[in-house]
Amino acid sequence: MDSAEPILSLKGIGKSFYGNRVLADVSFDVGAGEIIGLVGENGAGKSTLMKILFGMPVISETGGFEGSIFFNGKEARFKTPFDALDAGIGMVHQEFSLIPGFTTTENILLNRESLNSSVLVDIFGPRISTLDRATMESRAKSAIDKLGVTLDPNMLIKEMPVGHKQFTEIARELCRENVKLIVLDEPTAVLTESEAEVLLSTLRLLASEGIAIIFISHRLREVVELCDRVVVLRDGHKIEDFPAKGSSTKQIASLMVGRSMEAQAKIDAASAARSTQSESDARETILSIENLWVDMPGETVRNVNLSVKKGEIFGIGGLAGQGKLGIPNGIMGLSPAGGSVILNGTPVPLNAPRAALERNMAFVSEDRRGVGLLLDEGIDWNIAFTAMQVQNKFLKPILGGLFLWRSDAAMSNLAEEYIKLLEIKCTGPGQRAGNLSGGNQQKVCLAKAFALRPDVLFVSEPTRGIDIGAKHLVLDTLKKYNSEYGTTIVMVSSELEELRSVCDRIAIVYEGRIEGILPHTAPIEDFGILMAGADRDEAPVALVGGN
């Protein structure tokens, strides 16, 4: 669909947060009536790009961005999202931004209601006018009609099926006057397959009316099916921009996860060096997981079957929201879970964090500040607490063992030890964890797990949000710990590169299930295919390992 003048044109967009580059020189155009699929791994820069487009305050607060945006032929620099909305850009978020107790109409016209004029307006301002319900309903209806679906304008949102909520959101964007571009962020993530079908045809209908659409999705099949062109972002760069017709999910997936040749070579060399030590011995299974389901918001696990060998580093990868994070959280009892987890031949009770810890498993959570740390307490507390509570370490019995007295000195010693070992930069064992930098906080979390001397260690997103130097140190520490103590490590990460450089085998999670398990030496395209949900029509990928 060629149009002479693009509606939106991004030129050389770049952005860094605190010296951390997240976007570099991204340029592409969106024409009227064109559907652009914007794909990329987590952290590839999609959401930052959209924040820039919408003028989110966080961008200007962190020093603005490079490059320029042309919307509708004019250079646009939106100061707030409202400017962007006024200019004619609509956004449909991943999470529903709807008021549950309001009707469809009220939500579609939220803060844009039709008003009856009133004499009181001059005195009390326009908000004193009453709502003109009849006009509102007809406006809502016309927006719904544009979608080509049927929605009851008077139904409450909380009584609606999920799909209708999504349509309501889109209708809300359509209902603005002069809307020219709609950005949809993962609109189908919460929909059933048939609902998603309807949504896609609705989007096609809108495009045919001349509205440009940016469609952000991890469901690559939908992208191929729906979009005119696909823009792939990776590590903040635009990698490719090509017509969707004729492309395949496999192709897109490998573009998304592919690395530059040098990086690839380095990883290959690194993994080749390790391959000899791990693959040769057929070790016994330490942990086997059967039919595991985990109810973790946003990371639901439906049916996972896995087995992990003693002493290996096992990687779990996959795109965001597919459920990889749910696996360790479920096993460690932090999220409601079911199924069976067998450690060393005996089942581990689920939904009981203590039982999991007592079976000598430990977990470094991806939510460092929320789950991993006592921000208000010192490093010594943070490191020693779990071991103290679960294994009665750092405690002195007093009165003949009637009471267990906390030994601050022992905790302090332990903290000193780990501060030295992990090079934690701090003023001393008593420093509050909340005052540490992200990397050092992560080291404290690792130290906490190490202090338990676990048989199986789950590490979730160990390098998220920390700087390069700390990343290496964390990964090296994990490897060292694995080889020195023979600890089995299960590492969950969205960074495939990282998994491949550390792990022996890597499982890829897709839609709450294990899509496949590959050795770290497997070509990167194979991982890409698994991550995008191996297209069932295409030849199945040869799976290694499994149960």
């Binding site: 007592e358 929320g370 006592l374 507390w381 103290m388 509570q389 679960v390 267990l404 906390r406």
Partner: protein, 347 residues
């Protein structure tokens, strides 16, 4: 300048103002003819009287249940202990000990129910605690009317039903702690050794408790419940223990209070008992989720100091007794400050 700013930010402006205010009062005292030794002695007696009630707030703050506005439940347990002890005819030290023992039994029972309830309403504890406290006080008021107490010192003399509004403990165990090893210097200065010793002993026990494994776990629950859960801690159980402790300490606290005050106040007496204690600990520097023994000591001293000094100085200077109004403004202002400030730790 920067360190000054940080000090103000850490310590909090209201707290600084209150401290300066108290110092000003003490400084002014000799010039306006207020008897300083007597005032200091008064302050000490009040600290001894109220200290344990302030201490009683520590466990629940530490476990993340917030400010225990429902301390009245503990107070009711204490009242039951005191009245039953008198009814049973114990006098002197035995009466006092009996009162404490009985009150602890009731405190445990009340604390049990209260703890179970608060675990079901996480996040809304403070308001619910307040009103559960209030309604319990009213239920007990009905109970005071109809419970079959017989002791003539306690029931209405003629015509009336039930217990008196105020019961003197004179002849039972009035000042039993205050006068224990009392140090009398001159006419005006009296140091209530016994009461202060008991307060110190209870503080020591609390200090010990929070150095035990379980105390450490409770602190972690208050600091970050999710962390604690991930470390295998049963959050509900820790919260429950802290509520039990708080209630039982409250029961002990009111009995120590009564021996010094000389009276048992029934009916609506316990209604607002929690508020001065809460204000005191907040003035001492505690937050909604964090309190230390230092907060308790400083808070009790500052708050009771203000209560003692304000009326005497104002009376001497302005011939006005504004102490009531100042007390209301200071204590509630402090609570308000704590509520609006500590939102970042909310978790």
């Amino acid at each position: 300048m920067d360190s000054m700013k940080r000090f103000v930010a850490d310590f909090g402006l209201p707290r600084i103002i209150i401290t300066l205010y108290l110092f000003a009062l003490f400084f002014a005292a000799p010039f306006v003819g207020v008897n300083l030794p007597a005032s200091i002695s008064d302050t000490m007696i009040r600290i001894g009287m109220n200290g344990i009630m302030v201490l009683a707030l520590v466990p629940m703050i530490q476990s993340g249940c917030g400010l225990n506005f429902g301390l009245s439940l503990g107070v009711i347990a204490g009242l039951l202990g005191a009245t039953i002890s008198i009814e049973m005819g114990y006098v002197g030290a035995w009466g006092f000990v009996a009162a404490i023992l009985i009150s602890q039994a009731f405190g445990a029972v009340f604390g049990y129910g209260y703890g179970k309830l608060l675990n079901r309403v996480k996040g809304g504890e403070m308001m619910i605690a307040t009103y559960v406290g209030f309604s319990s006080v009213m239920i007990m008021s009905i109970a005071w009317l109809i419970l079959p107490f017989k002791d003539p010192t306690m029931i209405w003399g003629y015509g009336g039903t039930g217990l008196r509004t105020t019961i003197s403990v004179e002849g039972f165990w009035r000042h039993i702690l205050d006068d224990f090893l009392v140090i009398q210097i001159g006419e005006n200065f009296k140091f209530p050794t016994g009461a202060i010793l008991v307060f110190a002993a209870m503080s020591f026990l609390i200090w010990v408790f929070f150095h035990l494994k379980i105390g450490t776990a409770i602190t972690a629950v208050g600091s970050n419940p999710t962390y604690a859960r991930a470390s295998g801690i049963n959050i509900d159980r820790m919260r429950f223990v802290s509520v039990m402790m708080s209630t039982m300490l409250g029961a002990l606290g009111i009995i120590v209070f009564q021996q010094s005050f000389g009276f048992i106040q029934l009916y609506e007496g316990p209604l607002y008992m929690a508020f001065p204690a809460v204000a005191a600990i907040l003035i001492g520097g505690a937050g909604v989720n964090k309190a230390t023994l230092t907060n308790v000591f400083i808070g009790a001293a500052l708050y009771q100091g203000i209560l003692t000094m304000t009326p005497s100085i104002f009376n001497a200077v302005l011939k006005v007794d504004m102490s009531d109004v100042i007390r209301i403004i200071v204590s509630n202002g402090m609570i308000l400050y704590a509520l609006t400030r500590k939102t970042k730790v909310a978790k």
